[in-house]
Every structure is written in C-alpha cells, then in structure tokens.
Symmetry: C2
Subunit: 243 residues, 2 copies
C-alpha cells in the first residue's frame, strides 16, 4: 500500500465530515507517516499505556474495547480505513481502553508532536480534528442508546447499518452487501449480549428474511424491514460540515 493511498481515505472522510481546504489537504499529504502491518486480532495500543503516536487505518478493520473485572469485554466502536481511532490520545495521555485489529491491517502512525505542530501552524486543521473526536463521541452516545434500550435484534441491525453508512463514505458498499468481519463472539461483545444469544439473534434475522450474515459479509434481504428494525437516524454521524 503506497503512502499516498493511506492518506486518501482520511482526506475523503474529512471532506465529507468537515469540508477541507486545498492548502490543508497539502499539509496532510506532507505529514510524515510510518507504516506497519498488523495480523488479525492483535492489540495496537492497550488500556493503561501511554501513546506517543496516533494511528491512521490504511487498510483493515479495528475495534476499541474495554474489559471489566470479571473478564467480560465490551466493544465500544468499530473502525474502518481512513479513521484515526485514537486521536483522543493526543490529549488523554494514558489509554483508558484497548485498540485492536479485527482483520489483518495496515496502520499508519503519526507522532503526537507532528500533529501538535500542525495544529499550531493551522488552527483550522486542529478544529477539523477536534470535530472528528466529537463525532466519535456522538457515535458513543448512540452506542449507549443501542446497548441500553434496544432489544437484541434491533441492536444488531443498528450496528450493521452504522457500519454500512460509514463504509459508504469510503466507497466500500457493494449493492446490498458490505463487509463486517466480526466473529459471533465479537458481535456479542459489541451488542452487550452473550455469544449464544448473538447466534440466536443472527439466526432470527436470517429466518425472517431480513439480513444474511456469513463469512464476514452482510447481505440485506429486506431493506425496509431492516431499516425499521434498526430505528436508525443518521444525524448522529454528522456527515456534513453544516451539521
């Protein structure tokens, strides 16, 4: 993966969410990024660690999670190429959660120092990144609602649609199907249910002819019922600079 291609998805995302000026695109293209490959299911940064870099996903899927005393794990968010899942580490120095890969992934690392310098030079870029972390927080809010109020089938549908709408921005939705490379165990951790129950719910949605999920790929069979079940309101994704 070329160094340019890595930046492309980021710029594409920033264009959609914040609207980005030509000069600032140049700045981002000039950013020194060191690239590393990670296998699937590997920790990138761990809870309790002090980060010195931010991590830009060039390729592959990642997730953030927290593990509680009894060993249970909760997935907090899913991340796709073009995103910087640990931008918050710029000001929250000690990680309060894990960031790990779901699939084999190519990650670009940008040092905190570099980013801080860029912020001083171009406050508008800082504000763009700030907005990015605020959208991140907006997604957490919706995730709370999902886990707190919706019955399990709706939770699953909601997570699926959120992922789809974000994949759409980077051109990764193929008709009625898109990637969702999580094991049922991981899905259960995202929904806050047990793996057995996640399996029941997946089967139920399949039996009702709403969605099919196999080998890391979702295929929507009945879009209207899927939408209704998920109770999805895209506003919280703030995918427009004026919102």
């Amino acid at each position: 993966m070329s160094s340019d291609a890595i930046r492309a998805a980021l710029i594409r995302r920033l264009r959609v969410s914040s609207g980005i000026a030509e000069e600032d695109i140049k700045e981002i293209e000039a950013l020194p990024i060191s690239v590393r490959q990670f296998p699937a299911e590997t920790a990138v940064v761990r809870d309790g660690e002090r980060a010195t870099d931010c991590c830009l996903i060039a390729d592959g899927f990642c997730a953030r999670s927290k593990t509680i005393a009894n060993g249970k794990r909760q997935i907090l968010s899913l991340h796709i190429p073009g995103e910087i899942p640990d931008l918050m580490s710029l000001f929250l120095h000690v990680m309060d959660h894990d960031l790990s890969t779901l699939t084999p992934a190519t990650l670009g690392f940008i040092s905190h120092e570099t980013l801080r310098k860029l912020h001083r030079r171009r406050p508008v870029v800082a504000e763009m990144f700030w907005r990015d972390t605020l959208i991140d927080a907006a997604m957490f809010r919706e995730w709370i609602v999902n886990v707190g109020q919706r019955p399990a089938p709706a939770r699953l549908a909601h997570v699926m649609i959120e992922l789809r709408e974000r994949l759409r921005i980077i051109g990764r939705v193929d008709g009625a199907s898109f990637e969702m490379p999580l094991t049922q165990e991981q899905i259960s951790e995202a929904l806050g249910v047990t793996a057995v129950h996640a399996n029941r719910v997946i089967r139920q949605l399949r039996e009702e002819g709403i969605v099919e999920l196999q080998r890391g790929r979702v295929t929507v069979l009945d879009e209207p019922r899927f939408l209704e079940l998920a109770d999805f309101d895209r506003r919280y994704l703030h995918q427009s600079p004026t919102l």
Copy 2:
C-alpha cells in the same frame, strides 16, 4: 448567584483536569456570560436544534439523553456545577440529543462566537476545552461498558460512584453521603432498565446494607462492598493533567 461564583466551579474543574495558567484564568473570568434560571425537569437544548451558545452549569443538576422511536429514553450522562455539557455544540452544530435539568438550575450561557474568539487568541485554552470534550467521551465509553456488561446492581453502584467522584472535585461530598437528585424513573433510564427493576435493585442494595438512597441523597453504608460491586476504576475520569 454572583457571576463570579459561576466561573469558580469551572475554573476549579479545569485546574484539576488540565492544569490552567493564571493568564487563562483571567481570560475565563472576563468571558461574558448571560445567566438564566431553569425549573426542574426542563429542556435546555433539544435534539435537532441548532445551538448558538454553550451552557455552563452554575448550580443544579442536568442530564443528557436520547429518546428512541418507541418512546423509551436513555440517559447518557449526569452533569453537575462547573461543567459545560454541550461544549460539543461548538463544532457539532445540530444537537443529536437532549440536554435538560434534573433539579432547578442556574445556567450561564456563553456564545459560540465568544468561545471561538478566545480559542484564536489563546490556543492553549482551546486545547483545554478540547481535552474537556475528550474526557466527556471517555465517560461515555465507560457508560457503554456499564450498560452493556454489568448486572443492574453493579450498574447502579457504578453510576453512583462516578457521580460521587465528580462531586468530590467541586467539594460537594459530605462524608459518606452525597446528592443524587434523580427519581427512580430517571435512574432506570440511566441504567437501561425499567423503573420497576430499578426499584428492585435499589431495595436490594439497601437490604444488603450497601447503600441507602432516599430523597435525592445517597448514603454509603458499606464502602468496601460498594466499591467492589461497582468495579470502579477512576482512570477514565482523567482527573490529572498528566494522564
């Protein structure tokens, strides 16, 4: 409530979380703030609205929440004096959730324009506020874990301890007891359970001699068991500039 007193709690909080310089305290003391009183249980800003000001809590308790299609409500966070619960509206122009009072409250409003000017003048203050919104997001992450993974009694204990630790910063914890002015209905919305179940859980904690909750006040009866039940790790509150 004097205009100075309103700023005091904010400065106290910023001192603990970010460490704030004397010049910047002066800047904040000079901020034009317009004060308004709100009755209990009143919306301050609603989901879907476009905010033009940020709201600083001078006195009283507030909560943020979202309501889903079937009418159920999820409380996302509780807020106490000195906090700016809608700082995110500076860059996320359309609200994706409600902000409302729990008790009668005194709120100070600072216009977005004023804040933006301050940021341009003093980038360090902008970074401090950025960090504030990141801590907000860190609390959402923990809230997801709470609602997603912990059994209801632990959820209640966790919310109580989070509130206590934040009240402590502004000097509002009185020995083994502190304010928590929520009805059982509101508690149930915070925990993602029904009101009936919230009542069961409150009773259970009382019967086991762990905490007593009455008329908006929590009294801890058995601190060690309370802590153990809550599975509380304060790190996520990032209450130190170096964290």
